[in-house]
Structure formats: structure tokens, C-alpha cells
Assembly symmetry: C2
């Protein structure tokens, strides 16, 4: 199956503007980012969402940080008399997680102060702007599930592949209990680490379970860029290589090695951005295996999809679509996918369990997707 | 308990010289390091163990790589007409894993081509020189165990702490089988990721199990620098904070959440470098909880230890000590710990199961410790 919605995705995966509301006065209450390397004081974030950087490179001619107000070339740092480069973003960043990197004398490097996260097909620096609703993905004193790194054989690609499996807190307590499974995919240029590291999927689940908002289930994440798709070639994306890995190799491995419920009623798939595109292609082509579907900033369901997919109405128990609020205002997106609200309502009118979630004041970024998972999870595995 | 062997450790944790034998002629058979970021061509390694670097920083004045012949200030790169900095180490590196970083115009950055590994209390670049015996830690087409990230509560430190738990391939296949546990510690400036990422402990176990050389057991790794010990202050190291986390918090959590055999006969502890020092202090102070002990480049057992520790002869089922061959020739080490051979023989003569392993042609580095684990594991949990 070739991708027919590639152009839509091309529009969607354009980075959202990282601009929150501007503020009158810069507050000097900067604190180290929670994603700094141990003991590192910089980068720092203030209560308004401004970010301050500090980079030692005494003999450099120019140091720039890619993070800054959208479309304005990031943030130029200035060298002090001590040879240290410092600077503050010209405005507040969106709440949540952002990738960034440094440019030092024309070379791209990571910020030695920050932890690294895989995005843009490289390990980038990461920063976290505390969100007003960060409590739902905080590390709390509740029972925690485990995130298991598994290595599974893949004949189709000829290598041993990696996946991560979140097992809920009570998984190790019982010998008998079986669990539903959500396969959860990252976006273009990310990898199988993204949903746990950047997305805090495990902590979101721990907290939802502790609050009694969901029945515990398993989450599986694996690398979806099986065919090394280039950013510019999503329009001709071939789902087959990844579909083979996921459906024919990973799912049987997970079902053989974990206490899963392996029928279609107990299997869901969701993905963000490119992972949403893959989710739509794989699930609609394999409705004997999946019942619940989530597209996070990664496409939409239209009545055309329903009409073109045999058994959609009978078999899809949840057609969940989400976007960051800033994406909803993106004109190019609307040109391609139409009005997500109208799409969702049309499916509802046709008797389909269609849900649209819009994350307030975020763009094509991880806070949108953390919130999407929080909204999606309680709707899963209802019978 | 205060550390009485701190000075010994200070000598031991000095980096070994990364010099292998010199060779006549530089062979132009360079290949990308296996630890490069996906798709990155550099750094590269040739069949002799030379490393070649390539760093883009067109406007930089000077680029240096910390990796090179020991004590010679690393490797200076030279700028080509294309603005790209390149250079090759002046000699071959030791087989195995090495940390390194770049100095760009006076600032310390990681190599954008390489993956990062936590060492020296920061995420450093890493490179792998293929070892002649690398087969024992290779990713093979054998059943693989899982590496589980766990978050456990720690009252003594007031935070939720992370550990990794290797469960062997058959762990998920049975509901009933219980396993012995090895607690395995990293060195100074490293963290709980080190034994799996740099050490390939999981792959070493998978391969030993597939070959029938060991009975499957569980491995647990956690962060050992609980009291933020500085490199220069090991002489006054206080074991209490970490001992509390490990013995009073982590072990009960693991025993409650995994199918372990929780008596002393089925619990071992080992550690590398500073982790060896911690292992010796914790195990000899808690022989009601540990039976098998391993010190990898991290101290030795003398008859003084046996005589000073109540129950040593009766309770210690294995006193394993290992070093890299180059460490054995280190005069300072001998001044502090004496002759490891003589120490091991003295314990043997006293009827103790004392084993000394020396890793050929390696120093204070991870290939020594991978090999140490390979030698140590088959000696564990004999009754």
C-alpha cells in the first residue's frame, strides 16, 4: 500500500511555532531545566517560559541556539568578559518539551548542559518548559510500571530489533492476569525511545492507573522508520516494510513473551505525526487485528475512509483524532484534511465512536501528544 | 562505615593508557564505529584500532579530540579546504569501549557523529574498537532477556529512584520459576545505564545462557553515587547512604516485584572500580544477605579482610577479583593493594573460593569488565 495522505503529513510535520503569549517584563526567577544533565545549572527556564543559555567556548566566534521565537533563526548568544556565551530567548516558549541544538562556529553540537533526545534523526538537546498541567506526567509516589527493553528477531529486516514494553504496576504481582496492548508510534526522525523519554508515556499510565481512570494495559513502542524514509519523501511512503515488522514479527513476539490478550478487541494502535499516518495505514488494512485507533497530529478520519474500508463501522471501536491547538489554525493543514471538527462529527453521525481532542495552546510538539495519550487511554478496551 | 581503602581506589580509577601495540603501516580500511548515531559515517575505526574523526565547524580556530595516545593530549584535528576538521589517532587504541569528547574553540562538546554514554559525570561520546573476542558480547540470533527500567521508592533520599533489571529469556515463559540475583555496580562518574549500554551485560548473559554456560539469573543495576561523591574525595567515602538505598530499599523492591530467590545463597554483588569498593564495603558488612562477591578493577581481598570480617570463611562462597592486564603493571596499585596474585593465593590457602582474573591487554576500561562478568557469571549460585 502506498501512502495517499503523504502530502497532508508533510504539512502536519512542519514544526509549530514555539511562541506562547508575550509578557510585559522578564522575570528573573530562572531555574535549571528539569532535563539538564546531573549537576548542570544551564539551560534555565523562568516562570514565564523564557529560556536562558550558558555555553563555554572562549575562543569561538559565534554561538547560536536553535531554540527561539519561530522563524527568527533561534537565539544568538553573546560572549562575556569571562569567555562564556550567554543569552535568553526573545520570548516565552510553549509549555512542554522542545528539541534544540547549538551552532558553534558553523558546526552543529549539543548543549553540554542538557540531556539528549532522539529527534530530527539525531540525538538533540532537550528542554522542558514546566506546563501548568504537568501533574499528569509527573513522577509521583504511586506504584510504577516497568519499561522493558526487548530485542526481537526480525527476519524481514535481517537484524535483531529493539522495542520498549511498558508493563503496568500490577503486572509482576500476578501470574495469571492478561492485559490489552497499545502499539504506540513516534514521529519522523524520532525513535522507539521517544514515547517514554520525551512523552513520559509510562508516567502518564502510572498516574492514570493510580487515579483509577483506566484499566491497566501494556504499551509497546518500536522504531518505525524501517525503510529509512527521508523527510521529503513521505508522499511516496511505503508502509509494507514497517507493517511486516510490526504485525508479523513484533506482535507475535509480544504475545509470546508477555501475558497479553491477543484478540483484536484487546489491541489498539496510535501514533504521532508520521506515526499517525502509519497507524491509519496499518490499522485500516488489518482490522482483524486492531479495534482502537488514535491519530495524534497525524491525519484525520473522513467519511471517505469509512466508505473505502470494509468493516470500518463494525470493527473500529474508537476513531480518535487529536491536534495541538496551534495546528488547528494552520491553513495548509485545513486545505489538506479539512476541518477536523467537521470530520469527527460526520463520523459520529454515521454511528462511529469518533473523538476529537484539541490540546490548548500547543503546536506540533510533545505536550500535545502527552495530553493526547491522557485523553485516549481511558477510552480504550471498553469490552 | 567510612572507607579505609579510598586511597587504593584513587590509584585504581586513574584512566589506563589507551595504547595498544604500535604497527608499521596505517591501513586504510576504516569503517564507521558501531556506536555511531544512525547514518553517521564518522568516527571510523580501522582494523588496527586507529580512530579517524571528522567534525564540521567551518569557522572554528581549533578542534581537538580527547581520545588519543595516553598522556599526549588527545588528537588535534586539522581543517581542510572544505572547512571540515579531520584527524587520526597517532596510534591504535585498546580494543573495546572508550569515552571521549571534543574541544571546539575551548569549549567541551560531544562528537555529533557518536552516541553518548554517561561517564566522568557527564554524557560523553563513545567509540568501540572491535575486539578479537567480541563474539561473547555480540547481539546474536539467540533468545534475549529483557532489560526493565524500574522506578522504586526511596525514603532515605526522598525521591523515586531508577534501576535496571535484566530478566533472562525464559523469565516471561514461566509463572513459577524463581531466580538468583546479582547486584552489579558501575564506577565513579557513571550511572545505572553503564552496565547495559557500555558493558553489554544483557548480551553477555544472553550468550552465556544460550551456550548453556550458566544457569539464568537476574541482574540489577542502580545509581551508586547517592551521596554525590567527588572524584577527589573517595578517601572519605561514606557507604551508608548508598547501602541504605541498595540493601533497605532496592533489594526489598526487587524481591517484591520479581520472582527472585531472596535468601543469601542466591544473592551476589559485584562492581567495577568505585563500584568494587562499594561492593566490598556493603557485602562484608552484610554477609547475612550476600554470598558471592566480585571486585572488578576495584580492590582486592587480603587475609586482613578475612580476619577482620566475622564469618568470612563460612559465608563468602566466592571472592572474585579481576583487573585489566595493564593495571596489574601499575606500580602505584601494587603499592596500595600488593600483588593480586599473592592475595588470591593466600585466600585460597585459607580454604576460601578465591579467583583472580586478568584481562589481557586492557586497562581500566570496559572490555576488562565485560570479560570480568563473563568469567564471574559461571561461578555464581552453585548451590
Amino acid at each position: 500500500m502506498k501512502c495517499k495522505i503523504g502530502l497532508v503529513m508533510l504539512a502536519l510535520i512542519l514544526p509549530g511555532l514555539c511562541v506562547a503569549q508575550t509578557s510585559d517584563k522578564l522575570l528573573e526567577d530562572f531555574k535549571p531545566s528539569t532535563l539538564n544533565q546531573p549537576g548542570k545549572e544551564y539551560p534555565q527556564v523562568n516562570s514565564q517560559g523564557y529560556v536562558r543559555f550558558r555555553v563555554e567556548a572562549p575562543d569561538a566566534k559565534a554561538v547560536n541556539v536553535s531554540l527561539g521565537l519561530g522563524g527568527k533563526g533561534g537565539t544568538d548568544l553573546a560572549k562575556g568578559e569571562d569567555g562564556v556565551w550567554t543569552g535568553t530567548t526573545a520570548g516565552p516558549m510553549d509549555e512542554g518539551f522542545h528539541y534544540y541544538h547549538l551552532k558553534v562556529d558553523g558546526g552543529v553540537f549539543n548543549d553540554p548542559g542538557a540531556l539528549n533526545f532522539y529527534g530530527s534523526a539525531r540525538w538533540e538537546s532537550g528542554i522542558e518548559i514546566p506546563a501548568h498541567d504537568q501533574d499528569f506526567y509527573a513522577t509521583k509516589d504511586v506504584p510504577h510500571g516497568h519499561v522493558q527493553e526487548i530485542l526481537f528477531p526480525s527476519k524481514s529486516t535481517g537484524v535483531t530489533r529493539r522495542a520498549f514494553v511498558y508493563t503496568p504496576p500490577d503486572y509482576g504481582k500476578s501470574d495469571k492476569k492478561r492485559y490489552s496492548v497499545l502499539y504506540l508510534q513516534h514521529g519522523w526522525g524520532e525513535n522507539e525511545y521517544a514515547w517514554m523519554n520525551q512523552g513520559h508515556a509510562n508516567l502518564i499510565m502510572d498516574n492514570l492507573i493510580a487515579e483509577g481512570k483506566i484499566k491497566p494495559f501494556i504499551i509497546v513502542t518500536t522504531y518505525g522508520m524501517t525503510n529509512d524514509v527521508k523527510f521529503g519523501s513521505l508522499a511516496t511512503f511505503d508502509i509494507k516494510p514497517f507493517q511486516t515488522v510490526l504485525v508479523d514479527e513484533l506482535i507475535p513476539y509480544v504475545d509470546a513473551n508477555f501475558r497479553t490478550l491477543s484478540d483484536r478487541n484487546h489491541r489498539a494502535m496510535a501514533g504521532l505525526s508520521m506515526g499517525g499516518m502509519q497507524t491509519k495505514m496499518i490499522t485500516l488494512g488489518n482490522l482483524d487485528k486492531f479495534s482502537y485507533i488514535g491519530l495524534f497530529s497525524g491525519g484525520t478520519f473522513k467519511m471517505d475512509d469509512v466508505n473505502a474500508t470494509s468493516g470500518f463501522k463494525q470493527k473500529v471501536k474508537l476513531a480518535f483524532v487529536s491536534y495541538g491547538g496551534r495546528e488547528m489554525n494552520n491553513e495548509r493543514m485545513r486545505n489538506f484534511v479539512g476541518d477536523p471538527n467537521a470530520n469527527a462529527e460526520a463520523l459520529k453521525a454515521a454511528g462511529i465512536n469518533s473523538v476529537l481532542f484539541v490540546s490548548p495552546n500547543t503546536g506540533h510538539e510533545f505536550l500535545s501528544w502527552r495530553r493526547s495519550l491522557r485523553e485516549f487511554a481511558p477510552l480504550l478496551f471498553k469490552d
